[in-house]
Amino acid sequence: MAPVADVGITTREVIGFTRETADSITLTIEDPEARGFTPGQFYMLYSFGVGESAISISGDPARPRAIEHTIRSVGMVTAALSALRPGDRVGVRGPFGIGWPVDVATGGDVIVVAGGIGLAPLRPVVRHVIGARHRFGHVSVVVGARAPSELLFRDEIHEWRGRFDLDVRVTVDSADASWMGPIGVVTRLIPGVEVDPAKTIAMVCGPEVMMRFAAAELERLGVSPDRIFVSLERNMQCAAGVCGHCQMGPFFVCKDGPVFPYSQVAPYMGVRET
């Protein structure tokens, strides 16, 4: 029997490589069919003989022929993927998952809150918003990183800060004397954000603890939990909701998510070991 998950692996060419930080890189993978994606979706990337890993798409949805993935090297598969260079071939399956509600956010204010590698699946949102800036109200991008050297997309963040129509705030958990910006957890930047909470969609991605505290600060700001969206990380294998690994409570993170309204998943995020 061939269950849903047995969609074959397609091989694609790596056409770009950027080192982001000491342990993170961005691969650009060509999609000749330009099938496109929604910000927040992910691919299963396969390294021949090593295995698959779920990697968020971190690129621009308006450029569907060049799919960017930012990969943090944390295990065997991600290490193997991080060793790929332009000209190499990689196995792909996807795109999978429910992405960020950029359509719902249109016409209103937007807050993007990113912690660490969580900025990767949110970068497509920022690029999309910039590409259609007139369709959105006040847009805030709040970024937290471990240290200045671990800040992703540093040059691009500088570009964002250079714009007059984006409110960009960056903080780091620790820094040496050469850093002149805020130091502290990313949640501390949320109270200062100027948005109309009733018209705001907030999109949050980062470690689960950080997302919970960020959601609490956003609620304090007046944003209701069904207008706060989080991207969950669980052990994704089949990406089709049949292997069972990615479940959190009743949800298959791979196909019911990975993006969820906070109101839907908050009860499960709050229970230990769920």
Binding site: M1, A2, P3, V4, A5, D6, V7, G8, I9, T11, E13, F48, G49, V50, G51, E52, V74, D88, R89, G91, E233, R234, N235, Q237, C238, A240, V242, C243, G244, H245, Q247, M248, G249, P250, F252, P267, Y268, V271, R272, E273, T274
Partner: protein, 347 residues
């Protein structure tokens, strides 16, 4: 009938005697069907007892269910080889054998449907001979889960074995090809007394069955399970995963990667997996469910509550396999009741 099914080119699975149990397995002749056994079951206990009446279907379900053939414990999901400039590969072409299953109980038939729904499988054309139980085990609770012992759908033929007034297999056809098979087999229409005996024995089986689980109360109680209250079962549970292996609706799998020593060829192999394994819920930093308590809670909450959200039905069919084949005799009926009570106590 076995001969007819084999002649039709089907792989025939029927209750056979294997490793001290009457369990479903492939047979090549009718002689391999286990005859004359009853099963004594209790939490963590299964014992065969010789049955002087020579009943064919006197033993309640064995550890194996149809999922073993629907989705074998080990399958090759993908194979590939390196090539200049990259690699190529594909999904091996699958030609699953045409099956015939003899001896599926009401719980088994319900489980087949649920399992297919969970894995997104297309309906099969397997030939099904269902059996209505007249002697439930003490660990059976299909009545409370609404899956038996009577059978109304899901089979081509339904058999009720009676010993009085004489040893007969009262059989009815539920599909056109079931009717065709009955014609091939011959036999005679049952008398009123024989039909009555069949009906009343199944009814008696239903009445004699244990209380089981309240499916709606369990689903509500386990919807958002508390981290408290699982210490008792966690102290007993070995996290061995036996329950998930014998459960006919547990569908979780994992995929492992193999390569040849020279790394020129690779394959991806899909294996049955269990949410009880520590690596199952691995996220960055370690398993999301590290404690045994959280893993037991995950299994029972999924089975009795979240299945409803995912597939519109309870994942439990009341077959009792998890109770029998738990090495320490954990009883899902008792754990469900305890969970319901804990929630009730808080309210």
């Amino acid at each position: 009938m076995v001969d007819a099914l084999l002649a039709d080119g089907r792989t025939v699975v029927a209750p056979t005697l294997r490793d001290g149990a009457v369990t479903l397995d492939e047979i090549s002749s009718a002689a391999e069907v286990a005859i004359g056994w009853r099963a004594e079951t209790a939490p963590g206990r299964y014992r065969l007892v010789a049955d002087r009446d020579g009943s064919i279907f006197g033993a309640s379900v064995g550890p194996t269910s149809t999922k073993r053939w629907r989705s074998p414990p080990e399958t090759i999901a993908w194979t590939g080889r390196r090539e200049p400039g990259g690699f190529s590969g594909g999904v091996p072409t699958q030609s699953p054998p045409r099956m015939a299953f003899i001896g599926l109980r009401g719980c088994d038939l319900a489980a087949r449907v649920l399992y297919d729904r969970a894995v997104g499988a297309a309906p099969s054309e397997d030939f099904i001979v269902g059996v209505e139980c007249t002697e439930p085990g003490s660990t059976c609770f299909c009545v409370s889960m609404g899956t038996g012992p009577g059978i109304s759908e899901g089979a081509d033929l339904v058999v009720t074995e009676i010993l009085e007034p004489s040893h007969l297999l009262v059989t009815r056809a539920c599909t056109p090809r079931g009717a065709d098979m009955l014609e091939v087999l011959g036999g005679r229409p049952p008398s009123a007394a024989e039909e009555d005996a069949a009906w009343s024995q199944v009814a008696a089986a239903a009445r004699g069955m244990s209380n089981g689980i309240d499916p709606d109360a369990a689903a509500a109680a386990l919807r958002l399970p508390s981290p408290q209250g699982w210490e008792d079962v966690a102290a007993r549970c070995l996290a061995c995963g036996n329950c998930t292996m014998v459960c006919p609706t547990c569908f979780c799998t994992t995929t492992v990667d193999h390569t040849t020593p020279d790394a020129s060829q690779a394959s991806r192999v899909r294996l049955w997996d269990s949410c009880f394994s520590l690596a199952f819920s691995e996220v960055h930093g370690g398993p999301a469910r590290a404690s045994t308590a959280s893993r037991y809670r995950q299994w029972i909450s999924h089975k009795l509550s979240w299945w409803w959200d995912q597939f519109g039905a309870s994942g439990c069919v009341g077959c009792g396999r998890c109770i029998v084949w738990c090495p320490v005799g954990i009883d899902i009926r008792a754990e469900a009741s305890a969970a319901i009570e804990r929630v009730g106590a808080h309210v």
